[in-house]
């Protein structure tokens, strides 16, 4: 153990021991982490059923994301054709996700892999959506590289409406239930990259994508 650690901990314990003994503190902390006392979830984070999807769309658009509604995954390549044309490229960098690799990509120059500095359009698959603020949740994995979320000029994200949760806590609950701990990176993405650092004028596309397009696959609609 480093001496700095014992010095710092020593100072903390000297104060904290006055109120509770160290064993009580440890069990209090353990218990609180185990118990997960319910957070205060605001009304906007409690939408259910079709209202939840509608809330997600409203909030995502409020954050300046574009939402394109599709009914099946197979419509994804077609939706990309327009996005690529708008971006002036035929090249697509897609996340190496099994669902995407089996689609019919004819007419599109698709490569699967991590993000690179020269990527103009990137395609990812969301782990979840959060209706509360129109937030996408992406997690790092072999089939979901993080760099693809930040390097392309235009970031396109596939989201299945069944994966939209009402609030952030529900996403954590899902991750916990998988029992694998947290991946290296969990990205919450709410709208496209922006900055207000020059005279507080909001400009889109600072270092990350200038455009965020959500392909919302709503199989029930």
């Amino acid at each position: 153990m480093s001496t700095a650690r014992s010095e710092i901990m020593g100072r903390l314990k000297a104060v904290l021991d006055k109120s509770h003994n160290p064993t009580v503190r440890l069990s209090t902390a353990d218990q609180r982490i185990k118990d997960l006392p319910p957070a205060l979830i605001p009304e906007r984070g409690r939408a259910d059923g079709p209202a939840r999807t509608a809330k997600f769309v409203d909030e995502a658009e409020f954050a300046v994301a574009e939402v394109v509604k599709l009914t099946t995954l197979s419509q994804v390549p077609k939706a990309l054709i327009k996005v690529l044309a708008d971006a002036g490229t035929s090249k697509l960098k897609a996340t190496p996700h099994g669902d995407l690799q089996t689609l019919d990509w004819s007419g599109i120059d698709v490569a699967f892999g991590r993000g690179e500095g020269s990527d103009l359009v990137g395609l990812s698959v969301a782990y979840a959506g959060v209706a509360e603020t129109g937030t996408l949740v992406l997690r790092s994995a072999a089939n979901s590289p993080t760099t693809l979320n930040f390097l392309p000029d235009v970031h396109v994200v596939v989201l299945h409406s069944a994966l939209i949760e009402a609030n952030y806590e529900a996403v954590w609950a899902r991750l916990r239930s998988e029992g694998k701990g947290l991946p290296r990176t969990v990205n919450w993405i709410t709208g496209p990259s922006r900055t207000a650092d020059i005279e507080q004028t909001i400009l889109l596309g600072a270092h990350g994508p200038r455009k965020l397009i959500i392909l919302l696959i709503d199989e029930d609609s």
Binding site: R184, I198, Q200
Partner: protein, 479 residues
């Protein structure tokens, strides 16, 4: 007027000079009015209006912070164990110098030449950039605001908007000077062209960097995760491209669970910039996992104390709950005219006036807690209910005990105190002064100048007393 970065060389003793400089700067005053009143204040109010539970969430956040601090050692132990379990390393740093050494050692161990940096006030607090440069490692700030002030060799003037005091014309001049390889005739008149240039300059740096350094807004004991919030995506590239990621955080940033982090996040952006959520909120836990195609092979979390453990349980305890949203700064009437550099150290505004004397000493910083009207707006807007005016008052007391203020102001206070303790003498002394002032100022109703009151009359009139002394009028039955 710019100022050199000052982590090792605080300029707090010159607060009055800095304030005067800011007040005389017409451009800066316009920038302040636009950024604060019409910008941050309105945006926060709107975001708050969109969330009816805002105040209830503030109570929750305060309680989470209070609970964590009561059991801080236990949560830090759990946090550390989880980071290690996820393949990361935790380095405990007793002070700024120690933290700088740890970070430099990590950089040296991998032969790093350049490091990219996400925005981190903590690295400003410890003077990391100077330390790295001194030892041949080039730090590249990637947040646009931080990049601009790094090129200009200035300190940040605000904790969340470090370059808000700089006009777009000044940014254009800075870019022309520092990007000499680009066409000199290019048009840089619009913010968009400035942004495009910075983006392409920094893109190459991101990809070339050997190490990425970020801060961490919150640490999560449950999972050993840390998180950052950015709007640009710079902190996220900083931590996903280089093979080594160093996150610098401090001991009071820990919360028990991911759900507790959510509560903080529901308040942070709304209070800071008026966004319901920042564009990118990134949780990072340990190193890249087997099969991952990107992410760092090494993850180091530097856990800084730098005097924070001494605040625990003391009169300034509550400042440890701060989530660094900047709301107190955005709503402070003093900051709104003197701006950030006048405070002379890393953290400006009310939060700075509480933190700075602790870091640089009351001798240097005694003017800061006094640069306050006690209007209470900082406490009113604080998302975790920190009683900032009380904490400032604590510092005023300490400054007084340390013999500050000195000189004439001290003598004046001593004379006043001697009189105030003797009511009869006080009345006797005041009566002729009031009578004289009435006689002299009757015609105009106010003085443009009065002996001994130059500090007041330099910027405003001193009204003529309307009757006798307060005590005489009270005794005479006036209510």
């Amino acid at each position: 007027m710019s100022q050199k970065p000052y982590h090792d060389d605080p300029q707090c003793h010159d607060f009055q000079k800095g304030a005067k400089r800011a007040l005389d700067d017409v451009g800066l005053q316009a920038q302040l009015a636009r950024t604060l009143k019409d910008g941050f204040q309105k945006k926060r109010a709107k975001a708050k209006a969109r969330l009816p539970e805002y105040d209830a969430l503030r109570d929750r956040a305060r309680d989470i912070k209070a609970h964590t601090l009561e059991n801080l050692d236990a949560y830090l132990e759990r946090f550390e164990a989880e980071v290690i379990k996820a393949g990361g390393q935790v380095h405990w740093a007793r002070d700024g110098e120690h933290a700088c050494d740890i970070i430099l050692d990590i950089c040296t161990s991998v032969g790093a030449k350049t490091v990219t940096k996400g925005k981190s006030m903590l690295t400003e607090e410890i003077g990391l950039n100077t330390h790295l440069m001194k030892h041949g490692v080039e730090p590249v700030e990637t947040d646009l605001g931080e990049y601009i002030i790094q090129l200009r060799d200035e300190p940040p003037s605000h904790i969340i908007a470090p370059a808000f005091h700089i006009s777009k014309e000044q940014v254009a001049d800075t870019f022309r000077e520092h990007h000499p390889h680009l066409n000199a005739a290019r048009d840089l008149s619009e913010p968009t062209s400035l942004l495009t240039e910075a983006r392409s300059e920094l893109r190459a740096k991101f990809i070339a960097a050997d190490v990425g350094i970020t801060g961490a807004n919150v640490l999560v004991a449950e999972t050993g995760s840390a998180l950052i919030v950015t709007n640009e995506g710079n902190g996220d590239l900083t931590q996903s491209l280089p093979p080594v990621h160093i996150a610098v955080s401090s001991i009071e940033k820990v919360v028990p669970t991911l759900d507790d982090a959510d509560t903080i996040l529901r308040l942070l952006a709304r209070t800071a910039t008026g966004q319901d959520m920042t564009v990118y909120t990134t949780f990072f836990t340990g190193t890249k996992r087997s099969g991952d195609r990107d992410g760092p092979d090494q993850f180091h979390l530097v856990l800084l104390d730098n005097g924070r453990s001494e605040l625990l349980g003391g009169p300034l305890h509550d400042v440890l709950s701060c989530i660094r949203c900047g709301a107190c700064i955005n709503h402070c009437p003093i900051f709104s005219v003197v701006s950030g550099h006048a405070y002379g150290w890393v953290y400006p505004g009310p939060i700075g006036s509480v933190l700075t004397p602790h870091f640089v000493g009351v001798e240097e910083a005694h003017l800061l807690p006094n640069a306050c009207t006690m209007c209470g707006r900082c406490e009113e807007v604080c998302p975790v209910h920190i009683p900032l005016p009380d904490l400032l008052r604590t510092w005023r007391g300490r400054a007084f005990d340390a013999g500050k203020p000195g000189g004439l102001q001290g003598l004046g206070l001593k004379i006043w105190a001697a009189l105030a303790k003797r009511p009869a003498l006080y009345r006797l002394a005041l009566r002729p002064v009031v009578a004289l002032m009435r006689a002299l100022g009757k015609k105009r109703g106010a003085f443009k100048w009065f002996v001994g009151a130059e500090g007041w009359t330099r910027t405003r009139d001193l009204p003529t007393p309307q009757g006798g002394t307060f005590q005489d009028r009270y005794k005479g039955g006036e209510r």
